[in-house]
Structure formats: C-alpha cells, structure tokens
C-alpha cells in the first residue's frame, strides 16, 4: 500500500473540499488508512486511480488451481529472501503424463504417485498436481486420456497443449476440476484465453524469446479478460532460469511491475538428473510451479525434503513429536537418553546414536522447538520438565535400569532431576558428536 504522501502526489492538490475533507493531504491520509475510497474525489485523474489500484494489490497474485478440497495455491509471495520473513506457498510439483504413452504406461505413472508420498518429521510431502501433455495433438485422444487420468487421481490437473482446439476438448472433459492450462503463446493467446475464461481455469502465459515479449503477452491476455495467470519464459538453461526468475521476482516485489505480478511456471525437461537440479534451483529461487516427466523416488525424496527445508518458517522451527523414540532395537538393558524436540537437535542426536550402533531409547522433551541450550536458558527444558517426561512416557516399564543420560551442557540440572525423577543421572558429552564414543565405551 502506498503512503499518504505518495497518494497526495497523485491528487489534484486544490484543497477544494468536495471529498468532504478540508485538504487533499487529509483525504490522502484517509485513503492510506483505507478509511475511504478514491471515488469520493470527483476530480481525480485516471493515472491516480491506476496508481492506487496497483498499490493496493498484492505484489504477486494468489492463484488457486483445482476445485473443492483439492486446490493448490501458488503466488502471493512478498520476499526475495526467506530470512526476511518467509516464503509462503511451496513450489508445486507436477508429474507429466504423455497422451501418446501406452495405456499401461499411463496407469503405472498415476499409480506411481502413491510411491511419492512420504511422512517426514510429521509432515506429509508429495506431488501436488498431475499434468497431461497433448503430444498426440488430437482433440479426441487428449480428451479421453485427460478423463482417464482425472478419474484415477484427486490431485489438481495441468493440461498441456498449445493448440486451442485440442485444449478446448481436453478442458471439456474435466472443467469442474478447474485445471491449469498451459499455455497461451503469441500465436494462440486469443483463443486460448477464451477457452480458459469460459471454463474458469487459470492459464500459463508462455513467451520464450524475451522477458519483454512475455510482459507484452501478459498485457494482451489480461486485456482478453484473464486474471489468474502464471508466467513461463521457457528457460533455455539453468543460469537463464535463475536470472529470469530473479528479475521477475524483483520487478514484482520491489517495483510492483504489474505484468509480472503472477506466479511463475517452469517446464523442467531433459535428462532426469538435470531436471532434478533444475527443480532444486527453482524451488530455492522463485518458481511457483515446476512440471517434469520423470519422478524417480531416489530423486524426488531429496527434492521434497529440500522444498520442506526452504519453505520452513524461519521463525518457527520444525518440531518433532515429544515422547519415546527407539533407535536400533533397544532391549531392557539399553541406555536411555534425553534431548529436546527441535527437529535439528533430534536428528543430530538420533544420528549420532545410530552411528554408535548401541541400541537406545531417546526421550524427546517438548521444548517448543528450541535446541537444548536455548531451551535450558529459556526455562523450556529443566529438571521438572525432564522428570515429568520420564513419568509420562512410561519408560520405567521398558527398561530394567534407571539411568538417564542428559546432555553435557545441562549438567547443572542433574541434582534436581535425580531428586524429582528418582533416576540416576549420567552426564553425557557436551556435544552430540561425542555420543558414539560415549555410548560405545559404556556398553563395552
């Protein structure tokens, strides 16, 4: 939103009072606070109207793809760097199916989506959309494959064809699913925009010669009545992609350049590995939707993890669920350790216990996602909390001994914890990396 002074610069500055306020500045202040609308000024210029409308809109439009309970939201980003606030809408991953693939091949690909759903640190991660490519360029073939794929998945759909006749037929089969259409080009945009508009679908605008051309095409598609758009400049290579995505994001966020105030779309074609790295780059740097032909598990799992990492709110660390975690196959004689529920702390400690090859029980306390030292300083991890955890988890019934290993950095709580819990407290290494040696020596 513009400031009162910025708005004032666009007003007639006559202080005529027709708006009901004594001065133009007073009116501008009301506008800036959204207390009044601009039409109260009968003398306002077109330029001022456009300026105000533009400054009130979010820098990047929120676009919803799909319908009902199955909607993917992209766009509405406000930052260039995640540490400045956060990235809001995770990059959507689309698996593409070719309409000329064999029926068996198509079926396998849709079925493969199930293999790409994972539960990681308590979050479900997976593919967000399925796309159908009209390689056949035949309306009937495309429509029947689109219908077939749609019947096998609830995920929002992407339809890929630059032929408006083919696209129209494909959309007809799944109009109620509100698919994303790819793409309007300089050659087809009038008819493609009409297809999207008639069916209430969002539309990718694709112009691969230059960003100048892309901006022009966006204006034309907007003039045709479309607002839910995505931008595709058809990256020539990784460097070109990174630079153009950065330019688009900067223009949208810092300059409020309206033609680029939309989410971005990347078609990651090519060798599987390269498409993987392109997807990684796009996930870090400003791609809203990425579509690719292959989604092998050993590559998708790291990519989904990367997306989870990058779109984590920097102010709200990922937490793991408090409770007992079994590492290896612990027995009643196995050691019991305790730590906090900051995910990174948990992963580091459990990884170091795994390295020791000593099966163990790890108690994870609810420190509201703080690391051991921070939690201790903030009183979110203390003798009472640790003693309560020992009781609540019922760890006493799982082991025959009553020895609890605590992080070396909180050795100060050992006396009180011993008293509260009735367990013998063993002070472990100061840093988790000392655990393998520590545990090995204790078990021998």
């Amino acid at each position: 939103m513009a400031t009162a002074l910025e708005i004032f610069q666009k007003l007639p500055k006559t202080n005529c009072g027709d708006c009901g306020f004594p001065t133009c500045l007073a009116f501008a202040m009301q506008l800036a606070n959204k207390k009044i609308s601009l039409d109260k000024c009968p003398h306002v210029s077109e330029e001022a109207k456009e300026f105000l409308e533009a400054s009130a809109a979010p820098p990047i439009r929120l676009v919803k793809i799909g319908s009902g309970d199955h909607v993917v939201e992209v766009g509405d980003e406000t930052e260039l760097f995640r540490h400045e606030k956060k990235f809001f809408h995770p990059t959507a991953f689309v698996l593409l199916i070719d309409d000329t693939a064999s029926p068996e091949g198509r079926k396998q690909k849709v079925a493969h989506l199930k293999n790409l759903t994972f539960d990681r640190v308590g979050q479900i991660m997976g593919m967000d959309m399925v796309g159908v490519k009209a390689t056949s360029n035949d309306p009937a073939t495309f429509a029947s494959v689109v219908q077939e794929v749609a019947s096998q998945t609830d995920l929002p759909l992407l339809l890929v064809s630059e032929n408006p006749d083919v696209m129209a037929e494909g959309v007809k089969a799944v109009a109620d699913r509100k698919p994303l259409l790819h793409a309007a080009t300089p050659e087809n945009y009038e008819r493609m925009a009409a297809v999207a508009k008639e069916n209430g679908c969002s539309l990718v605008v694709r112009e691969t010669t230059s960003l100048d051309g892309l901006a022009d095409l966006v204006e034309k598609v907007k003039a045709a009545g479309m607002e839910d758009l995505l931008l595709d400049f058809g990256p020539a290579n990784m460097g070109n992609m990174l630079r153009n995505l950065t330019i688009i994001r900067r223009l949208a966020v810092k300059k409020k350049f309206r033609p680029f105030g939309y989410p971005t779309f990347v078609l990651a074609e090519g060798a599987t590995e390269d498409a993987g790295i392109i997807t990684a780059l796009g996930t870090m740097k400003y791609a809203s939707v990425i579509a690719f032909d292959e989604a092998e598990v050993p590559m998708m799992y790291p990519l989904l993890t990367l997306r989870q990492n990058i779109f984590t709110d920097p102010q709200k660390p990922i937490q793991v669920k408090p409770g007992i975690y079994e590492i290896g196959s612990p027995t009643p004689e196995s050691p019991v350790l305790i730590t906090t529920n900051f995910s990174l702390t948990y992963f580091t400690v459990s990884g170091d216990i795994e390295t020791s090859k000593v099966p163990s029980y790890l108690l994870v306390a609810d420190s509201e996602g703080l690391s051991v030292m921070t939690a201790f300083a903030a009183d979110k991890f203390n003798a009472e909390i640790a003693a309560d955890l020992v009781k609540e988890t019922g760890i006493e019934e799982k082991v025959s001994q009553k020895e609890l290993i605590i992080p070396g950095q909180v050795s100060r709580m050992s006396g009180k914890l011993q008293e509260k819990s009735g367990w013998d407290i063993i002070v472990g290494p100061r840093d988790s990396s000392g655990l393998p040696k520590f545990l090995k020596e204790r078990s021998s």
Partner: protein, 319 residues
C-alpha cells in the same frame, strides 16, 4: 514493452584469495585457484562481475575407518589406504580442482599418528597431484598445534590453506599458516555474528584477509540445510552491502550428507540408496552455491559431476 532490469548496485565486493602456488610464485603446483572477487549474488551477472566460477575440491582422508559409509567408499576402494593415490584419482579421474586432505589419523584418541608422519603424508600428496591443497587437522587443538607447524614447513612455498580455525582454537593454526605464507580456513557454526567475529579475531592476530576463507558450516539437506542456506545468504548480502569483515570467500562441505543416514539407508520406500545419496549430495552442494558458496568440498564423484555440469550452465551466458 522494454523491461528495465532492476539492478542492485552493491557497494561491497568479496576479496580475491589465491590458493596454491605455481613455480612462478615459488611453489610446485601446476595450477592455482582464485576465489572471490565478485560484487553480486551467485550467478546474477546482470548486477555485477563474477570473475571466478565456483570450484570443487574433494576430500581425502589419511585413514579410512570402518564406519566410513560404504557408498562413498566404492569409488575409492582401490586407493583408500594411500592418500597420495586417492588424491591422484580424485584429480585425474573425478576432476577435482583441489584436494582437502584431512589428517584424521593424528587424533590422540584414535590412531594417534605423529605430526611427523602427518607431514610426510602431506608431502606425498603434494608430490602426487598438481592441484592446490587444503590440510585439516584432527580437531584437537593440542595435537593440531604441533601437526600444523610441521605441515606448514613441509608445504613451504605451496600456499596451502590450513583448517579449521575455531573461536576457541585459532592461534596455533594461524601461527603455522603465517610462518610460511599459507592461508587459514575460519570455521563458524551457523552464526553470522560468529563468522564475522572469527575474521576479526584472525585479522587482529595478524592473518591477512587475502589469506582467509570462511567455512560457515553447510548442514546436509534435511538436517538444517535451511539454516545454513539463510546464514550464507545473509553473510553474502552483508558483504555486498559493505561489511568488510565478511568480504571473504566461502567454502562449503557437502560431506555431512553421509552423517544423515536417511540419505543412504536401506529403505525400499525411499528408492535406490546410491542414486539417493548422490542426488542428496548434489542438491546440498547446489543449495550451498545458490546461497553464496564460492567453493565446495565434495565426496562422491558422481555428485561432483552433476554439480559441475550445473555450474557450467549457471555461469554461462546472459539472460
């Protein structure tokens, strides 16, 4: 409509650092490496200059213990007991730009090899390859003090970089590096303030800025990558905005991927472990580069090849 590219006019520039010395400079390296010199964020050549493309070094250990991950061992199985041959393979076959030799066997709680033996290993590796070297101690200061002194002498004239200098242990390693014109790797643990503090401590102690490379700790994908990513981005931004004490090239290691068992454990739902770990390492390295690393130290040759290909595309021509 002609678009005006929204350029950043950064005031700061990362200092250039030279690693290795050729006969011209009094060493025996067949090539040297120049890092840094950029006044723009990674790969954004429309904002400024990126005179040197990122380079990739590989890790060589002076002893491979039994807990060394099997998947990382495969490519170097035949040379794992000979650091010189291992280094040679990294350069000749895998295309490493540099060797990061880690003298882990000097650890007094493990093999406890002597500083003399360690210095001998450094000489052998220097003799086997023409690329520049990083040489890291075992991380136990008392031992490293002596080891680094001998390593410094053994590598006299070669302009190696010694590591790792930490907040609680930087003096002896700095002395060792300064006595023969070598450089130092300044380690900080996911903390931009500590990164700056390290450079202040080291320069106050007498280490010149052109002899400094920063290691801000690259966490593995899935294990805090987002913290490293944002710390590195913030360090780079602060440097470009003019904070002279952060205008130091950055090195990131992707080797922590092998501490994250999830990246290679046998689990049918996660797919082929080898493909997974290779991509995991490549994705970790790519993240480091996008955040602002000038250089990587990697472990798996196939991950290196993947990142190398990406760098080729990332630095290549125009928008």
């Amino acid at each position: 409509m002609a678009i005006e590219i929204p350029k950043e006019n950064w005031q700061g520039r990362i200092g250039e650092v030279v690693i290795g010395a050729t006969p011209e400079e009094g060493g025996t390296r067949t090539k040297k490496i120049v890092l840094g010199g950029e006044n723009t964020l990674p790969f954004l050549d429309f904002d400024g200059d990126l005179p040197h493309a990122p380079v990739i070094g590989m890790e060589v250990l002076d002893v491979v213990r039994e807990d060394y991950p099997v998947l990382a061992l495969e490519p170097i199985q035949d040379v794992k007991d000979d650091p010189a041959q291992w280094a040679k393979k990294c350069v000749d076959e895998f295309g490493a730009d540099l060797i990061c030799l880690k003298l882990v066997s000097t650890n007094p709680e493990e093999e406890d090899r002597s500083p003399e033996e360690a210095a001998e290993t450094v000489k052998e590796v220097l003799g086997a390859v023409g690329v520049p070297l990083f040489v890291y101690g075992c991380g136990i200061e008392e031992k490293d003090a002596k080891t680094m002194e001998l390593v410094s002498n053994a590598a006299k004239g070669e302009r190696v970089f010694l590591g790792l200098a930490e907040e609680a242990a930087y003096k002896s390693i700095s002395v060792a590096s300064m006595s023969n014109g070598h450089g130092v790797i300044a380690f900080s643990n996911l903390d931009i303030n500590l990164a700056k503090q390290m450079h202040i401590l080291l320069t106050d102690f007498g280490v010149k800025k052109e002899n400094l490379i920063a290691d801000p700790l690259m966490a593995a994908l899935g294990y805090g990558l987002e913290y490293s990513y944002s710390v590195i981005e913030r360090v780079k931004l602060a440097a470009l905005m003019g904070d002279a004490m952060l205008q130091v090239p950055i090195v990131c290691e992707t080797t922590r991927v092998y501490n994250a068992r999830e990246s290679f454990k046998e689990d049918p739902t996660l797919g082929d472990p080898k493909k997974r770990v290779v991509f995991w390492e490549a994705a970790t390295g790519t993240s480091a580069l996008v955040a602002g690393a000038d250089m990587l130290i990697m472990r798996h040759p196939e991950a290196l090849a993947m990142v190398r290909r990406s760098i080729g595309e990332l630095v290549g021509g125009g928008t």
